[in-house]
């Protein structure tokens, strides 16, 4: 990947995301709402974000908008449903006396561009029924599948990643 200096917009975005994340983390950890705690935590978060923003500006964070937040919430619900399904799926395969597995390694492709979007997609695939990501290069992902249903790239893509990618593409536009 070529080393480019991030633009001002990217820097501001990285700063805003880092500030928000560290401040929410502080609120959750302190779990008090005194004025002193808030001011002290806020100052430390501000300093951390000022010094750390340049490291996070290359990851390609999305811009904040109502649509993005809404789709992110839908995405979280979909992800949780898939996690629960994944657990019952694995539990069934483990407890079944004959172990109905049919493992294999397949390749799928993605249309997502930014690194952070690809990371979220790979982690989501890992948490969904029967699949986990082995490697990501460019726009292809190497997937281990415990119960292979389609061997070609298009069939596997539509079965594994389509349900996440349609949300992620809206979130990361």
């Amino acid at each position: 990947m070529p080393q480019t200096t991030p633009s001002t917009i990217e820097r501001v975005k990285g700063f805003a995301w880092l500030l928000m994340a560290t401040f929410v983390l502080w609120l959750a950890l302190s779990s008090k709402l005194n004025r002193a705690e808030l001011i002290c935590g806020g100052l430390v978060c501000l300093i951390i974000s000022l010094f750390g923003a340049h490291m996070y500006s290359k990851l390609g964070f999305p811009s904040l908008s109502m649509k993005m937040v809404l789709f992110f919430l839908i995405y979280i619900i979909v992800l949780f449903w898939e996690i629960i399904k994944a657990n019952f799926d694995v539990a069934y395969r483990v407890v079944h006396p004959k172990m109905p597995i049919k493992p294999g390694i397949v390749v799928i492709k993605t249309h997502l561009k930014s690194d952070i979007a690809k990371m979220i997609l790979a982690s989501s695939i890992t948490l969904t029924p029967g699949t986990f990501t082995l490697d990501v290069i460019g726009d292809k992902l190497l997937i281990h599948w415990i119960n292979v249903k389609a061997e070609d790239i298009d069939g596997a893509t539509s079965l594994i990643s389509r349900k996440f990618e349609k949300y992620l593409r809206i979130i990361f536009t």
């Binding site: 629960i84 994944a86 657990n87 694995v90 390749v107 948490l127 190497l142 292979v148």
Partner: protein
């Protein structure tokens, strides 16, 4: 509140137990990783949230811990899977397809 928390923690431990059984029964590294990731993610998540529900003062802290587990567990699993593929751990006999070579060719073209 106490009862709900206990029930949720109990369900979490059942999933953790199934994950352990999966690591014991499944044939090769990759299949074991499947059981090891999925069951431990939900199991640890439910166990920690259950403790948070039992003691409502800790709920925000337990939510942060659960969030970190949810983010880091797939990444550690990914690292283990990638490392075992790079060091040449073979797939088990029941495997039906292996497209890893195709992927290597694609990687060299990049």
């Amino acid at each position: 509140m106490q009862i709900i928390g206990t029930v949720i923690t109990g369900i979490g431990t059942v999933f953790l137990c199934l994950g352990g059984l999966g690591v014991f029964r499944l044939p090769d590294v990759y299949n074991r990783l499947q059981a090891g990731t999925k069951c431990t993610t939900l199991g640890a998540f439910l166990t920690i949230i259950g403790v948070g529900i039992m003691h409502p003062d800790w709920l925000s802290k337990t939510l942060v811990i659960a969030l970190f587990i949810l983010i880091t567990n797939p990444i550690s699993n990914h690292a283990l899977g990638r490392a075992s593929r790079k060091s040449g751990v073979p797939l088990c006999d029941r495997s039906v397809v292996d497209k890893a070579d195709e992927f290597e060719e694609y990687k060299e073209k990049q």
